[in-house]
Amino acid sequence: MSYVLEINNLRTYFFTLRGVVRAVDGVSLKLRKGETLGIVGESGCGKSTLAWSMMKLVPPPGRIVSGSIKIDGIDITRMSESEVRRKIRWRKISMIFQGAMNALNPVYKVGDQIIEPLIVHGKMEKEKALSVAANLVKAVGLPEEILERYPHELSGGQKQRIVIAMAMAMEPDIIIADEPTTALDVVVQAQILNLMKKLHRERGISFILITHDLGVVTELSERIAVMYAGKIVEYASADEIFEKPLHPYTQALIRAVPRLKGDIHRLEYIPGTPPDLRRPPPGCRFYPRCPRRFEPCDKEEPPLQEVEKDHWVACWLHVRR
């Protein structure tokens, strides 16, 4: 089986004046071609840093310290910036940044913003680029005329569609979407998720959806990775994550969310706060908040292990030593 994405023991740290923040600290992940992946976690768990690492766009003072990220078998951590720019970024993997719809340039028409990378990266003539742009906006469900509009004339949902069209411009295999619907109302959110589903099905795009919202993640993701304090604590199919979660953090997270259907149960919460990533606790990072901690948890860190077929978990309750 071929993997479009293979991350191995990746560490991305931020070297701040107040210490080294270990935002991504030993993450391993594999994604098969055409699969969709959801990365779930709370603020500060390192999910956005992981995404930036995959694009090799970690902002300073952050940098990839060790590990590898193979896209189509090629390790991008060993590539020079110009090589990544020529061969990988936007062509093989692209990204919808958080809040990107509000980062459209207000003084340029939408069309000009879509064709710019096509001309610069794709070396296209303007006419050709315009016809590609027209096809892109149609693919995301917008009329061609929208190319002549300015961002302020568009609604939030339309702007987000434009941003998705831009991510698709160089026909990448993988698109990372960092909280793509967080600023949108539920109806618009559902429309955007429908669109992403369609693009996945019809064009085979592997979406990597990064979100804190367990409801959103299930709409699109075949596989789900749960992150906590810079690490993946559980990685399995979406069905397994919801029907048979193994890690106490995953279990608690699912029980903390109110549901729209079924009986109303008292919600549970996780006491305490996530650890400071400059000084993570020894052993398992979740152990100070874990309801099921026991003897080895505060001493030794559990590795992410495949405890059942395709179900990975990093917890001493399940991992064999």
């Binding site: 949902g157 109806v187 919801f242 549970e268």
Partner: protein, 377 residues
């Protein structure tokens, strides 16, 4: 009915026909050409009532007027028209009477009708919790100063010691324990959840009767949301205040609220028991809203989500005539296709929010009770 059943008390708030229109500034050319003055009709005729200990929820998408409605009760926005009758606590009423305010029968005062000076005692009874715990606390104040301020403003607690005692007690109420660990800290030393609890403590320290909670958990991580909701529910049980709970999240509304009102473009389109509305929505807009919410269930991945709604929210300056939802309504679309009577009614006449039984109200011409209430049948 919220997660914890509790007996509700007397009626304490009656909002009638509330309108908050914000004028749009005209350009010079528009003035010369004599163009009519335009308004953003943020709240456009909202009526509801609340009882003691009730958690009443305003839900809707951004721009539907839910926050403006909440703010108007604290007179934080200029009200265009309408009434908000409020029944203050006994001590507050006595203070008001000393200021020369005569309550109407049953001890009601109209919030919008009091001069600012005479409104001040009422502020003690109506407090607010804001969405953003990072922006709503003064970064230069220690926690004890943040909590002492409302006491000083309202003249609660005779001495410094008395005030400190009340501050400690309130911090413990919101589960910031031991309180002595928190009083001398600054907001930046606290986590988001802890800050929000300070904001809650500030709101409840004056023992208010009504708390307007504007999206109090939407900025917090999911693992701590439940804890904050629990703090709010416990406070209601212990202190007996009511919450006007503003949220866009129907699942949270279902969990915490007794009744909900669904707002669309400045009006309530449906109102009733929280669980009943979510289990069986009557208004086409409520149906669309519920259909759009991604419930955490992997089976949702299988199909596309069917959304029974068309187009996008129009802006609140040019509100569509008749039922303001009709241009997006699938029921109206069908009526046009089939040529039923609704095809003429919906775009011409605004449906009233009418009782359809069991305390349930809806503003949609599809319902016979609504047509009867308007004298059409």
């Amino acid at each position: 009915m919220s997660i914890y059943q509790i007996e509700l008390g007397e009626e304490i708030l009656r909002v009638e026909g509330l309108k908050v229109w914000f004028p749009v500034r005209k350009g010079l050319l528009d003035t010369i050409l004599g163009k009519p003055k335009l308004y953003v009709r943020a709240v456009d005729g909202v009526s509801f009532n609340m009882r003691e200990r009730e958690i009443f929820c305003l839900v809707g998408e951004s721009g539907c007027g839910k926050t403006t409605t909440g703010k108007s009760l604290l007179r934080l926005v200029p009200v265009t028209s309408g009434k908000a009758l409020f029944k203050p606590r006994k001590e507050t009423m006595e203070k008001l009477e000393r200021l020369g305010v005569t309550p109407s029968d049953g001890g009601w005062v109209d919030i919008f009708n009091l001069p600012e000076k005479k409104f001040k005692p009422v502020r003690r009874d109506i407090q607010m919790i804001y969405q953003d715990p990072y922006g709503s606390l003064n970064p230069r104040f220690k926690i004890k100063d943040i909590l002492e301020e409302p006491l000083l403003v309202h003249g609660i607690g005779g001495s410094k010691e008395e005030r400190m005692e009340l501050i400690m007690k309130t911090l413990e109420r919101v589960k910031l324990t031991p309180a002595s660990d928190f009083v001398d800290r600054y907001p930046h030393q606290l986590s988001g959840g802890q800050r929000q609890r300070v904001a809650i403590a500030r709101a409840i320290i004056s023992n208010p009767r009504l708390v307007v909670a504007d999206e109090p958990v939407s900025m917090l991580d999911v693992s701590i949301r439940a804890e904050i909701l629990e703090v709010l529910l416990n406070l209601r049980k212990e202190l007996g205040m009511s919450y006007l709970f503003i949220t866009h999240d129907l699942a949270i509304a279902r969990y915490i609220c007794d009744r909900i009102a669904v707002m669309y473009l400045g009006r309530i389109v449906e109102l009733g028991d929280a669980r009943e509305i979510i289990a069986e929505p009557l208004h086409p807009y409520t149906k669309a809203l519920i259909a759009a919410i991604p419930d955490p269930d992997p089976k949702n991945r299988i199909g596309y989500r069917y959304l029974p709604i068309k187009g996008e929210v129009p802006n609140a300056i040019n509100i569509p005539p008749g039922c303001r939802f009709h241009p997006r309504c699938v029921a109206y679309e069908e009526a046009v296709k089939k040529g039923t009577a609704l095809k003429d009614l919906c775009p011409r006449k605004e449906p009233p929010l009418a009782d359809v039984g069991n305390g349930r109200k809806v503003a949609c011409w599809l319902h016979e009770a609504v047509r009867k209430a308007a004298g059409l049948e």
